[in-house]
């Protein structure tokens, strides 16, 4: 095993004492900014002035205490409003604010799964989320997707999984592709008919280039499933750690209870920043969308010129680039890393996308240009 964080069990008191499930392969730690050209993440300081001012003002007003475990009401109202615009009618009381969307996903999985359960995870999905399923003691059943279908889930494949829980994301964190409404509804409805719990990760939904709410023929379906959201991607506020879940009434108490016992509440100053980000004015988000669109067009033009394919994203920030003819995602990521350019290999989202690399179109403009140029150069020089 070549995992970067493989634990060597040593014969020290603590080495002998480590829990079995944290021995062996673990989620790699993150150390941002470790490379000159980092195309795995967006601009570090994307938070606009109005959000910074709101955070500072909250501190001036002494907002330094615990908040309600489920999050402060004005934030839950703002999230409810945002979900409404995305096509999901969710009351503020159904929501729990979390320290980032990842914490929300972990809580949802931990509540839904027990050891031995099978969980259908629709690829492409970041590997640390599969790690969560394994860590809980459940068995991830990867639902593979195909390039010809833009890596969108096939309802029949989901139905065949035989799992008791379905986890899927729309738009996809790897491709930025949105699952078409009818297909998404069919998948969720058929999962529900098969008594599966459903977790739908909407963390990238606010980043649609052409915002358009989801329309289900049966809108009530949304209230039967757990929804996950985040301010890290579309709003570029990853450092603040704000995300959320909404949960059906039957297990809402369990999710909130686990949240409270895990981390008491979500950081107060971050919650106030999040209110300002969601409540508007939204001019900065429109500028952000336009800037992503410009980056997308610039990068895809370079790729097109070099004869490299990519998956046309519906939402920012990801762009998934086909490098199978350059030796595949792992080889290209490694080769770029040797030149100081960091990208995510497609394999970190599952086998379906192993021939690809993923970049974040929010990376600083010059980094984006020079990084993609290095990639393009590989098409004219032998890679072996």
């Amino acid at each position: 095993m070549s995992g970067t964080t493989t634990q060597e069990q040593s014969d020290t008191p603590i080495g002998r004492a480590l829990a079995r499930r944290v021995r062996g392969h673990l989620t790699p730690e993150r150390t941002p900014g470790s490379s000159a050209i980092d195309l795995t993440a967006g601009e570090p300081d994307a938070t606009p002035t109005q959000v910074r001012q709101a955070a500072k003002a909250a501190l001036d007003q002494g907002e330094t205490h615990y908040t309600d475990a489920n999050g402060i009401l004005p934030l839950r109202e703002a999230i409810s409003g945002q979900l409404g615009e995305l096509g999901f009618a969710v009351e503020p009381d159904s929501l729990g604010v979390t320290n980032g969307g990842t914490e929300a996903l972990y809580i949802a999985l931990q509540v839904a799964l027990k050891p031995g359960d099978r969980a259908a995870v629709v690829e492409p999905m970041p590997s640390h989320i599969l790690d969560m399923v394994t860590f809980i003691g459940a068995e991830p059943v990867r639902v593979e997707t195909r390039a010809e279908d833009d890596f969108l889930p096939d309802p029949a494949a989901v139905a065949r999984s035989g799992a008791r829980l379905l986890l899927l994301a729309s738009p996809s964190p790897a491709t930025g592709k949105r699952i078409p409404d009818a297909r998404l509804e069919q998948i969720i409805a058929s999962a529900r008919a098969n008594e599966m719990d459903v977790i739908l990760d909407l963390s990238y939904a606010a980043g649609l280039y052409a915002p358009e709410p989801v329309r289900f023929e049966n809108p009530a379906l949304a209230s039967e499933i757990v929804l996950i959201g985040s301010l890290s991607h579309a709003h570029g506020m990853a450092g603040w750690r704000v995300g959320f879940f909404s949960a059906p009434p039957a297990n809402r108490g369990l999710l909130l209870g686990l949240k409270a016992s895990m981390s008491i509440c979500t950081t107060s100053v971050s919650q106030h920043a999040a209110i300002a980000a969601l409540s508007g004015p939204h001019g900065w988000l429109e500028e952000r969308r336009a800037s992503f669109a410009a980056n997308r067009d610039r990068v895809t033009a370079l790729l097109h010129e070099a004869g490299l394919d990519y998956v046309q994203p519906d939402a920012y920030p990801p762009l998934l680039i086909d490098v199978s003819k350059l030796g595949g995602g792992d080889a290209v990521a490694e080769k770029l890393a040797a030149q100081g350019v960091l990208v995510d290999p497609g394999s970190s989202f599952g086998a379906s996308t192993a021939g690809y690399i993923r970049i974040d179109l929010g990376a600083p403009a010059d980094a984006l240009t020079s990084g993609v140029k290095r990639l393009v150069e590989m098409t004219t020089t032998p890679y072996y």
């Binding site: 829990a19 944290v22 330094t64 979390t98 509540v111 860590f135 016992s261």
Partner: protein, 393 residues
């Protein structure tokens, strides 16, 4: 129907409510409807975070130091923590490999227990105890083994009582000194005996030191990890919520041997990536800046402790020596009511909220936990109201 099935199929470990759970949400809802309420409930300091800490956070925001941080925490904060541990706790740790920053010490507890406990492992926990311990241990599949404490020993944990509870499955001992909820401080000589026992019986010690700054009379805090032979088996848990009145910021930390910190950091990366960046810069200022606000809180709590103890004594309550933290753990059996009854009685008749002892363990029905987190005049007013409510039964 689908919804009830959702509940039925839900993870046993998540649904299993520790038996000492008092429905704190119901209690809080009643409290919220109580006019002119005085609360001695939550352990949230009444002080706001000190101005220089807030300014440091605001400067970080202005200067754009708000980008994602490493899973282990900002290097500057890990260095500040290592400096603090060396300066104040006689613990020498490497900031790069032996410290991890968490989103509050409660998350630290959650992460460390998940990294340490396999199903069936026994964790010794002093009783009464903070309810989150039960949740974290139960979720990992561990077994909680309660080590009793008693009023006659000032509720301080004793090595002999721990030894009596050891089995072949004993893996870890959880210490919290000063204690929540009992305010007990384990005396240094007893702590030494506990350390010797841990070494002899190969126990890992989880040392929760969140209340270390709040000590009264002759009480002294010793970090068990600083005792000979203990560093290699001690996981020190701490945070800034109580020490620097920073509950809302969510910054805690763990200091432990490198291989354990690596496991926790990896879990941290999986569960929520990193602690909020702005909060981490605030924590650097809290640890490295002036400590006047800490000293002021300490003086306030010492004064309030006197007021509270005098008032409670007059009502006929007893307690241990209560030499630490910001709580008084009082025996209310002289009222003839159990803690839950008295809790509701005071809420309704006195407009005062005090947590019943049963929240901290099912056998503590004769006790209540009072916080010292109200100003002097409010404490005096509450004491009078509580006394009147007792007289008017």
């Amino acid at each position: 129907m689908a919804e009830s099935r959702t509940v039925d199929r839900t993870s046993d470990r998540t649904t299993e409510q520790p038996r000492n759970e008092v429905d704190i949400f119901t209690l809080q809802a009643l409290a919220n409807e109580t006019p002119d309420l005085i609360s001695f409930g939550l352990g949230d300091p009444d002080s706001t975070t000190a101005p220089h800490i807030i300014e440091a956070a605001q400067r970080a925001i202005d200067e754009g130091r708000i980008e994602p941080a490493p899973s282990r925490g900002l290097p500057e904060l890990r260095q500040a923590i290592a400096n603090k541990l060396q300066r104040e706790n006689n613990l020498i740790v490497d900031p790069d490999s032996e410290v991890v920053v968490t989103t509050g010490s409660q998350e630290g507890l959650f992460l460390l227990v998940q990294s340490l406990i396999d199903p069936g492992d026994e964790v010794l926990v002093p009783d009464p105890r903070y309810p989150a311990y039960d949740k974290a241990i139960t979720l990992a599949g561990g077994k909680i083994v309660l080590v009793p404490t008693s009023e006659e020993n000032d509720f301080a944990l004793r090595a002999a009582d721990i030894e009596a509870k050891l089995t072949e499955r004993s893996k870890a001992l959880l210490l919290i000194t000063p204690s929540n909820p009992t305010a007990a401080v384990i005396p240094p000589d007893e702590l030494q005996r506990i350390a010797e026992l841990a070494i002899e019986r190969d126990l890992i010690v989880i040392s929760d030191e969140i209340y270390e700054y709040f000590l009264y009379e002759d009480a002294r805090h010793v970090s068990i990890g600083s005792l000979p032979g203990m560093k290699e088996r001690t996981i020190t848990l701490n945070g800034l919520s109580k020490s620097h009145a920073m509950t809302g910021w969510r910054v805690g930390y763990i200091a432990a041997p490198a291989e354990f910190v690596a496991a926790v950091s990896s879990l941290k990366a999986m569960v929520n990536i990193h602690a909020p960046t702005v909060s981490q810069w605030a924590a650097v200022a809290a640890l490295e800046g002036p400590q006047d606000a800490v000293n002021e809180m300490r003086a306030n709590y010492a004064r309030r402790r006197r007021l509270m103890m005098d008032g409670l004594k007059e009502m006929g309550f007893t307690f241990g020596s209560s030499k630490g933290a910001f709580y008084i753990w009082a025996n209310i059996s002289s009222t003839g009511m159990d803690a839950m009854q008295l809790c509701y009685h005071w809420l309704r008749e006195a407009g005062v909220m005090v947590f019943p002892g049963s929240r901290f363990g099912e056998r503590w029905k004769d006790y209540m936990r009072f916080t010292l987190l109200q100003p002097d005049d409010v404490i005096l007013q509450a004491l009078e109201r509580m006394d009147n409510a007792l007289a008017s039964r």
